[in-house]
Amino acid sequence: MASRVLAMPINRAVVREAHRRARSHSRAIGFLLVPVGLLLVVGLGSILSASSVLGLRETGDGLFYFKRQIAWLGLGLASLILAATIPLRWWRKMAFPLFVATVGLLLAVLLVGVRSNGAQRWLQIGPITIQPSEIAKLTTILFLATIVSRRENSMNRIRDFFWPVAGSVGIVAFLVILQPDLGTTLLVAAGAFAVLFASAAPFPYIIGSALLGGSAALLAALVSPYRWARVTAFLDLQSDPLGSSYQAVQSLVALGTGGLWGVGLGASRARWSFLPNAHTDFVFSILGEESGLAGSLTVVFLFVLLTVAGTVIAHRAADRFGRLLAIGITTWIATQAIVNIGGVTGVLPITGVPLPFVSFGGTALVMSMIGVGVLVSIARDQPNIAVTAR
């Protein structure tokens, strides 16, 4: 009786603590999913406007791209729910097979991939094309998080640091840069960097590998005149406004035309063949033109919410794997958005990466949504109350 009386307050505290944690986790999930949902809606609207002129001209159907994106969105939602309901430990178990499969797909791209615009990035499977490099972002981070979480505290020697990193990020980055797809390589590296940085791995090694990767990327840009032109073009947009900096200039024109409040939904001028890839890499310009600074800052704010929510989920994750995976996914998505908007606003080189949840593109959309699903799975993965009771 006495013990029961004694146990009661402890139990109540534990239960209260568990409830508090559950509430705070569901709040974090909310802060994650609400911006994602809003971004998806904004994306659909922007694609509808940005692609209607192109769709009408190419296929006779102004809704052509919009309909396809709706289909991909359905697949994405199903994937998100599935990814969220898969227990986190399953993700850990699937990490290696998924990574191997990804490497297989990337090799397949190099061998039998579809070439377009000077790059070999796509695999044609029946009526649909997929972009394995988009898949690689998630699976590489997943695999790296798995290895690092296992041997976090034994990575003090350079050998022990080098091989896991080289064996995951290194392979993927090498295969992706051969396509070539510098933008995606950069994002994989950013995600990996975050995973390593948040781990207990020695700081100098992380910085060293980052510098190494950075110089490799610079070298890759230098050897390709087309890529180098893009890099230098962003430094001086006026040098060649009809050539290498055409897109960047047109993007700024679109954003400037939008001004503070925008020209109105569906009233974009830039989509009238001024801005190439208006519905994919440059969808943010159309969005900014139609909804103005008000709209574009709102989108930025939604991404900030998403970034913070992801970081909070990582911070509160129950174990090392969850925290590393969560910060890796968050960094990947956030960096991708920053690189995209940075390119569109002329402060970063244009690397051809889509804006997550907003740009047209099936594989990217589905993979970003799976990433969000994994974040939800991490947030939901709470240790048994009994175990935590200390």
Binding site: V53, N153, A194, F197, A198, S199, A200, V249, L252, V253, A254, L255, G256, T257, G258, G259, L260, V263, G264, G266, A267, R269, A270, W272, S273, F274, G288, G292, L293, S296, L297, V300, F303, V304, T307, V308, G310, T311, A314, H315, R323, I327, T330, T331, A334, T335, I338, I341, G342, T345, G346, V347
Partner: protein, 564 residues
């Protein structure tokens, strides 16, 4: 250790999130710059690359004759143009279009393949011939409404009305040129945003400044008289073998030109193949030495000065020799002639005697006063002023004598008609003009008010008219008689001055007759000038019958009853 590590790691984790948020802040700042501080600069650049202005042609004014008959009108025209950027297969499109446009397929294919967003394929087709192209519904082929200038009366008043340039309908000759500002109106402007392929952006800026319609012109020309004069002149060229000719019919009281005809002429609807010579309005641009018709100025000047009276008689010598030059009379007449008879017989020697009494300075003054040696100020482009040398440049030998009888001076047919108009109009010179009224787009009518000045007195003019009647009744101009009307006028036959050899031709003459009717109160003045007639090569036999024919028609059409 186990407590230390997670917190250090948490610190690193949080710093990743913080780094990302800092990056987002920079992005937000950049957006504020692009869409806020520098928005106008980028927006202006965008507008500049999209905004295009198009000229909207104004409706050119219609040209009517004095009775409201259309002489120059606009009809609907369809201009076909291409946007080559929308065209994928120029060759096959060219071979399809070529027959419809009546163009060479190779040239057409070149146009269709050019690197522009706008290329004319054919301008101002009539709507029926453009219809099959419209029906074909071809991508990249577009249509514009561009009115075409049409002259319903063809060659009838071609020299007066003139014509416009193909395509943009700008006045090139005649009234079309002289009144270009009034006829053309003010073109409008369409400002529209277009994409790089030239398609209109529906939500873009769209401003229209509507064109202002050009004014209509009502000419002084009376088509019936113009027609009669053309017929009579054509018949005269046929009969006499003259190379060209002009007829001017005018109302001496108002200065209104009722008809102005030149042959050869041309069809302003199809100028291709018309020789350049045929395009000239000779009545206004070409000069000739007037010869005997000029005697009116000498005699009128002498009468007005009071040196002679109509019945003052002169002893006419058989000839007058000045240095190497010998003046003779070509007609047979008594040895003594009154001034009236000098005119009636067109006596060179009599006129030289009268002119000698008048003197160089006074003769010059009267010639100038009658409007010789300067353009009349007709509302017509390129009017010639003729040649009248200032008195100090006249030679002291033959010049006074020669000028008295119409040599050493050159005039246009119009100027010569105006000399007679002064006599017809009781001594008043009224500026000749071709446009009676200007009617603007709102229907406001503005009448043309001609200048007027006195040249000789009413009495002198009346005396001169009696002498001119005598020319027709008893003298050299009998062929100018018009049944039922009293007619006066003067013949002229001039040896043609050949500027190439600076000598007078022995074979070629300019035959003219200038006169008026009814002589009591003249309503009509007509000048007929024939260049180089082979048969009937004199004013009396070549030009006077034309005068008679046209005068009868003119009096009839103006409604002058026979008698006066």
């Amino acid at each position: 250790m186990e407590q230390e590590a997670p917190s250090r790691r948490n610190g690193r984790l949080v710093s990743v999130g913080v780094l990302l948020v800092i990056a987002w802040t920079l992005i937000g700042y950049r957006l504020t710059v692009v869409q806020g501080a520098r928005a106008d600069e980028f927006a202006a650049r965008g507008l500049e690359q999209r905004l295009q202005s198009e000229i909207l042609a104004a409706d050119r004014g219609t040209i009517f004759d004095r009775d409201g008959r259309e002489l120059a009108v606009n009809v609907e025209g369809v201009t076909v143009y291409a946007n080559p950027r929308e065209i994928t297969d120029p060759e096959s499109l060219a071979s399809l279009l070529a027959p419809w446009l009546a163009r060479n397929p190779t040239d057409l294919a070149q146009d269709l393949a050019s690197d522009a967003a706008f290329v004319y394929l054919a301008r101002q087709l009539d709507p029926e011939s453009a219809q099959p192209i419209r029906d074909a519904g071809l991508t990249g082929i577009h249509f514009l409404s561009e009115p075409r200038r049409v002259y319903p009366t063809g060659a009838l008043a071609a020299h007066v009305v003139g014509f416009v340039s193909d395509g943009d309908n700008a006045g090139l000759e005649g009234i079309e040129l002289f009144y270009e500002a009034e006829l053309a109106g003010t073109p409008g402007v369409l400002l529209v945003e277009r994409d790089p392929q030239g398609r209109v952006i529906p939500q873009g800026e769209y401003r229209v400044e509507h064109p202002e319609q050009g004014s209509d012109l009502v000419l002084t020309i009376k088509s019936e008289i113009q027609y009669s004069a053309t017929q009579a002149l054509a018949a005269a060229l046929e009969r006499t073998g003259a190379t060209s000719g002009s007829v001017v019919v005018l109302d001496p009281e108002s200065g209104e030109i009722l008809a102005m005809v030149n042959l050869p002429s041309f069809d302003p609807n199809d100028r291709s193949g018309a020789p350049v010579d045929a395009l000239r309005n000779r009545a206004v641009t070409d000069v000739f030495e007037p010869g005997s018709t000029q005697k009116l100025v000498t005699i009128a000047g002498a009468l007005e000065s009071g040196i002679v009276a109509p019945n003052t008689s002169f002893e006419i010598p058989p000839r007058i020799e000045i240095l190497d030059t010998v003046f003779r009379d070509v007609t047979v007449h008594p040895d003594r002639l009154t001034v009236t008879e000098i005119v009636a017989h067109s006596s060179n020697l009599g006129t030289i005697l009268v002119g000698d009494l008048l003197g160089i300075r006074r003769l010059y003054t009267y010639m100038y006063s009658f409007g010789q040696g300067r353009p009349s100020g007709l509302d017509f482009p390129g009017e010639a002023g003729g040649v009248l040398r200032p008195p100090e440049d006249w030679c002291i030998t033959t010049c006074l004598a020669g000028t008295s009888i119409g040599y050493h001076v050159s005039v246009t047919p119009l100027q010569m008609a105006m000399v007679y108009a002064v006599v017809a109009n009781d001594g008043m010179w009224v500026q000749p003009h071709l446009v009676k009224e200007i009617v603007d787009g709102e229907g406001n009518r503005q009448a043309i008010l001609p200048l007027a000045r006195r040249v000789i007195s009413v009495e002198t003019a009346a005396q001169m008219r009696i002498m001119l009647e005598a020319v027709v009744l008893r003298g050299t101009g009998s062929a100018a008689a018009v049944p039922g009307y009293r007619v006066g006028g003067k013949t002229g036959t001039t040896e043609k001055y050949l500027p190439d050899i600076q000598e007078y031709s022995k074979e070629e003459v300019v035959a003219s007759f200038i006169g008026m009717a009814p002589i009591g109160d003249p309503q009509i003045v007509i000048a007929v000038v024939l260049d180089s007639p082979q048969e009937y090569a004199s004013g009396g036999r070549g030009a006077a019958p034309v005068f008679a024919e046209v005068m009868l028609a003119a009096l009839h059409h103006v409604g002058v009853i026979p008698g006066g």
